[in-house]
Chain length 269, copies 2
Amino acid sequence: MNRREFVAGSLAAAALLQAREAASSQSAASPAAQANGVRILVFDTFGTVVDWRGSVIAEGEKLGKAKGLNVDWAAFADAWRGGYGPSMNLVRSGKLPWTKLDALHRMVLDQLIEKFQVNGLSEEEKKHLNYVWHRLKPWPDSVQGLTRLKKKFVIAPLSNGNVSLLTNMAKQAGLPWDAILSTEIVKHYKPDRETYLMAPEFWDVEPSAVMMVAAHAGDLDAAKKLGLKTAFVYRPLEFGPARQPSKPADGSYDFMARDFRELASQLGT
Amino acid sequence: MNRREFVAGSLAAAALLQAREAASSQSAASPAAQANGVRILVFDTFGTVVDWRGSVIAEGEKLGKAKGLNVDWAAFADAWRGGYGPSMNLVRSGKLPWTKLDALHRMVLDQLIEKFQVNGLSEEEKKHLNYVWHRLKPWPDSVQGLTRLKKKFVIAPLSNGNVSLLTNMAKQAGLPWDAILSTEIVKHYKPDRETYLMAPEFWDVEPSAVMMVAAHAGDLDAAKKLGLKTAFVYRPLEFGPARQPSKPADGSYDFMARDFRELASQLGT
């Protein structure tokens, strides 16, 4: 019996049982394991890592100037983001089959182009504008904070942005992710449970070895319910200077920080 | 009617049609688009980017010395890798449900521990040994070549290694991937078609905008059949000095290079 036959033959017999045992017994053994500790940080992206509102306004104003348009780009950005939840809920409720965020963004954009009278755009220009979400700019502390956190933890987005959106964004903004975890991978949008359980399942660890980092209480509450650790980062300018978001009470989450640098210090990196 | 009602209401009506149109019309418009050109490079990993054989032998010899074992680690490494194809085929043929590569590696390892009489290992030590595949060392040109290629292309592994394996490997070896594309994401092993079509679908591009880079003809042939571009990189030492792999005839693939640095030069980076 040669080596290949040996391996294939004996595998077939005990395979199922062994696979189950191996999967369950490897939980504690990953390379960077820290007993009962957090090993993986996953980040909400829009608003938490990048400034979607400021970025959309800046590109809109540039486009408006080039095209001679008179558009309230702040209202336009808010309306575009306003269509985000409702359009994802069409998917979450089953009214739409799985549809990636780029396509949902485009659906909303086509309506806003009419509503805000953004006239005279070619199809190429509309496509380019839709991809502004691939070009969002990071908050001033994001790259430095993530770079520090990366030394101690696996870091990844956990975002409703699709894989190409998050990858292109990271490339342009210099976000040093170890992996791109998009909800597109499990074809569910947050706050569906499948999204938060992605990292624990990929790494064969308990949910408590993964910490969700976000500027939004709803995101953190959903993660917490499934056993993930949570870190709140306050982003007072996410919705513009006129609409300061409320801040959860101290102690609402495992960690609470003013920005990623402070979070890095709290986590000893 | 407020903004939220406006968006949700009008979305529901034309949603399905728009989603389809948006998905198909965005093909050419991604940020780094090059007309008819390759934008994304996906890489086989074991053997192409990292030296699995040398890495497993080196860790085995260290373990053997510490434990006073007399094991032929080269034969051990070859047998472990020899179990790779047969164990994946149990999944591909449906004899096993989806099982990630870590668990397949462990199934084979448990048999080889008996066969090669690797005695006296605790469960923790077995787990650590199984994760040697997370710690494989890159070929000498890999990091430098990938760093050059990353300037012009989106670069990602396209490997049967699971997400955590590839992420941990990249972190330890300094592989500068833009994203981690593991076949675990689509729950199919190469050469199933779903694996090669992952990048075109994530990026909404034709398969010809994606190039598969590998040291193995079978991998490239499967990718080529689905319309991907192909680059062969010769890795004469993958199977050790005594077993030099055959080299495909010139012109068999779109690009053929001796290492990643040469590939980077051929691709103008």
